[in-house]
Symmetry: C2
């Protein structure tokens, strides 16, 4: 069955590895009969900084309160057109794929600014005006899937379970869990290419072939088993004592 | 003895809690006889997006390779003036304090863009042209201190050791360890204010007083004991088997 996939990407150089992956993603998914929507953040000149320009019709002219203005703008259809368009794409999509290079262990600023601005109050948080009631597995994007495709300059060893940078999936937890699972997306394990700046042409082809296989399973691969806020394992937003008993930290929120 | 402190902050609203903290920081440190440098990212209209405009004199016009151009621009004094000015401030400072609201479990895009752009190759990475030789405790900012002051909208419970968001210090590891300790900064434990949007005036005063006490110990508080890459505990950038034996994840890189 034909699906709709939103591809969000953050690299200005058409010949970069990030963009080669984007091209492959679009080609393969369209070949499979899917509809592909694209958000080329650099190409669109996406405004990274969340500021007063995001609120052309303020509820409070005297003091800029982001949450208050975000709620007002979203609820009253007073958002800027670029933000509303991205929200519409998210709502239309069955899956969202993010392609970006890992910069300082996180997203490039332009992509962080996509999250900051598109994730309005009432949309990605404060869903249904009920504060934190719907999040982490519930929310406006529930039932859709997300997948990060990350180009990592450093070697895989540095990101291994005891590698000096920390394991990649834990470094990305603020994104996978905090930004994607939060509004309800099912998040697939991150796809990473290490040593991305130094790949031979043969290895680029190999990496693209591996990615092709990942894409083939976009809709049947198991997501990261993050625990749902409303799944009975949390009591007042703290993990119940008998779950992952005696443990703490980011990884207890994954049901492994 | 008089020191120089750089204060980097990311909130456009002068009456926001973030900015009240900034004002207090400047007031207290100047009162103590220190020199305070400020980087008001919103006020400066800081360019968040790292792009081709960062390289007015390219080594390669055909293809934008960020690392290559960053190295070329930094080495040959071809950087944009805004980036060079921030690097100069960092070099002049004995400590750097970052004031920002936590947005989606990380920095606002404008601050991430400060890191992306100011952290040039040859400066924050690739120091002395030696790849990864000097990092995590060694590097150009060695001997200086860093401190995050973070305004967190949610309640403290959600960020507790078993709280649903994950512990704050682990969520911030990509920043404290990955962006600050990496080029050599000694990083103090993060100062967080929770429920930052709903504080009564009395509680704001209380939080400012607590912050004042933190500032008083800026130069004698113990930093987070991140393990130094070149301190003998890593073998080929993987933690030696006998250190934190049998454990894995972000926290093994802290010598607790």
């Amino acid at each position: 069955m034909s699906k709709t996939i939103l591809v969000v990407y953050a690299h200005p150089e058409p010949t970069s590895l990030t963009r080669l992956f984007v091209t492959e993603t679009v080609r393969i998914l369209e070949q499979q009969g899917h509809v592909v929507l694209q958000s080329d953040l650099y190409g669109m000149g996406w405004k990274a900084t969340f500021d007063e320009q995001d609120f052309p019709n303020r509820i409070n002219q005297d003091r800029l309160d982001f949450i208050q203005e975000s709620q007002h703008a979203y609820t009253n259809h007073q958002q800027t057109l670029d933000v509303a368009a991205e929200q519409d794409k998210l709502l239309a999509a069955d899956a969202v794929i993010f392609h970006f290079p890992l910069w300082w262990f996180g997203m490039p600023a332009i992509l962080k600014g996509w999250i900051d601005r598109v994730y309005a109050y009432g949309f990605a948080y404060g869903y249904k005006g009920e504060g934190n009631r719907y999040r982490y597995g519930d929310g406006i994007l529930k039932g859709k899937r997300a997948l990060l495709s990350v180009m990592v300059g450093g070697p895989v060893e540095d990101y291994s379970p005891r590698g000096i940078n920390g394991p990649l999936e834990e470094l990305l937890f603020p994104i996978t869990h905090g930004a994607l699972f939060f509004p309800g997306l099912d998040v697939l394990p991150t796809h990473a290419v290490y040593g991305s700046g130094k790949l031979s042409n043969a290895n680029v082809e190999k990496e693209l072939a591996t990615w092709h296989l990942r894409l083939n399973h976009l809709f049947n691969e198991s997501p990261i088993p993050f625990r749902r806020q409303n799944g009975g394992e949390y009591q007042f937003n703290i993990l119940a004592d008998h779950i992952a008993a005696g443990k703490k930290g980011l990884t207890i929120h994954i049901d492994n």
